[in-house]
Symmetry: C2
């Protein structure tokens, strides 16, 4: 067996596919826009078939996909994308199509559970047992890994829609989430920043009042995560977090919100508790690769 | 081996100990107030020694204890109560003392992780994989079980201190939590109800405005739990939840707060998603018994 793994990071706007064995050994990769499910998945399959001709057989494929995703082990629609607003994708048997075409084991999870797994295996969560990953970008989402396994309960975590306290006197913005208005995603995603300030997030200067407010909401989201999922570390990724000046602000607000609680835990040191990705924008792709590795080995 | 298990539910105000094999076979039990650690743990040990003389040897002991508790598998202080405000108990090697005295395997976890385990094994979470338990009483706390194993991350869940949105215009009460003021426990525990209304919770009539407000906060807590831990069911216990009229109110508020999100999941049917305990006030004790059973078998 070659040990070569195929990885797919399937996002709502783009697909990234790669073939390799780890972060320092990605031998082929490709990215293309997410279109209709048939041609898009077909393009990924073609990429892998070409790679197989050039590099040899794949041992497995791992997929980290936008969701919601059916990850229930006993479900007849396991591996399908479920009810997504993304046109055409609801009910798509994503993992099944890849498996049928390539005839190798296919493992899959949400893009954010995959990213948490990638950070646990190769990145900022390496060596830890319980690692949370949160992406703050077009949306807010998150994944959780315990002992190298992504969390599955009735579904997977849906961290973007966490309720967070908002003081209407201090902040009259009612949020952009179509379901909840002022949930975490409604208040702190990239589109929320832009709707609130009339300026895209990357154009807001570091001293802008936007960031203090943003940090406050992200800190409350991190607090809810710390008190429920109990991660040893929270890794923050996504486009908005590329504003690195946000990290110290989030950490200070987290400390304030924690209020001295959990004194003997990793959460008590916000500087090491809330950290950027160790894998840059490759957390999801390398997490998908890890899913593939886990399909054939126990790591 | 007799299969007899010793169980300790160690609460901040009282200890309950029992010997048996399951909910329909508790052969001895005792309850006494929680005093100084030495004499209190000694009294539990004496109870078990007497039971052994009468019933035969114990196969294991399970402990569900007030916390915070060191549950880290690699910790030199594993099995100890950590920094608790309860006088004398900080640093008490609870599990170790019981193990040394009785010379049987001793399993332990938080009282609320134990209660979640009890409800999963014998109660309202039977047959499910992912079960959350929340107690609403003198404090608010919660536990989570996946596949029959309580959740341990950097610590255990600390659900009572979840931040929840409060509209200061609609509710000017600032909460009673010494750490956070208006966290879930600060707003919705028994003492919070009493401080807010000047009347102990059991004396507030069902039509009192207190309950609608209480239900709103508990629903937000349940929402945060659903979106993070992703349980298939949330079991609500504790003294405040003995007001059974609270359940329909919490469920309606949960539906409102969920806002149509997670349509294809158990959370979409609040009537079966948010339920009372199946074990009455014995969730913790029977969870401790389950911990003991798990120490000697795989269930």
């Amino acid at each position: 067996m070659s040990g070569l793994i195929g990885a797919i990071e399937a996002g709502g706007t783009k697909f990234v596919c790669a073939v390799g064995t780890g972060p320092d050994d990605l031998r082929r990769d490709v990215r293309f826009p997410t279109g209709e499910p048939g041609p898009t998945i077909g393009r990924a399959i073609t990429f892998f078939r070409t790679a197989v001709e050039e590099l040899g057989p794949l041992a497995a494929v791992g997929i980290g996909s936008f969701g919601p995703l059916d990850v229930r082990t006993d479900s007849p629609t396991r591996g399908c994308i479920t009810s997504t607003p993304k046109p055409g994708w609801s009910g798509t048997p994503f993992a099944g199509r890849v498996q049928a075409a390539l005839q190798v084991p296919v493992a899959f999870d949400t893009d954010v559970n995959a990213a948490a797994l990638g950070e646990w295996r190769w990145g900022a969560g390496r060596g830890l047992d319980a690692v949370a990953y949160v992406t703050v970008g077009t949306g807010i989402g998150g994944g959780m890994v315990y002992g190298g396994r992504p969390l599955h309960g009735m579904l997977h975590p849906e961290l973007g829609h966490l309720p967070v306290p908002r003081d209407p006197e201090a902040d009259s913005f009612e949020g952009v989430c179509p379901f909840h208005g002022d949930c975490l995603e409604g208040l702190a995603s990239g589109p929320a920043l832009e709707a609130r300030w009339g300026t895209p997030a990357p154009a807001l200067p570091p001293e802008h009042a936007a960031w203090e407010l943003e940090a406050g909401y992200l800190a409350l989201g991190c607090l809810s995560i710390a008190l429920t999922l109990s991660p040893q570390r929270i890794v923050l990724g996504g486009g908005v977090m590329e504003q690195r000046h946000l990290f110290p602000l989030v950490r200070r607000r987290f400390e304030q919100a924690l209020g001295g609680y959990l004194p003997d835990t990793p959460a008590a040191d916000a500087d090491t508790y809330i950290v950027p990705t160790g894998l840059g924008n490759r957390s999801g792709l390398l997490g998908a690769l890890t899913l593939g590795l886990q399909a054939i080995t126990t790591i």
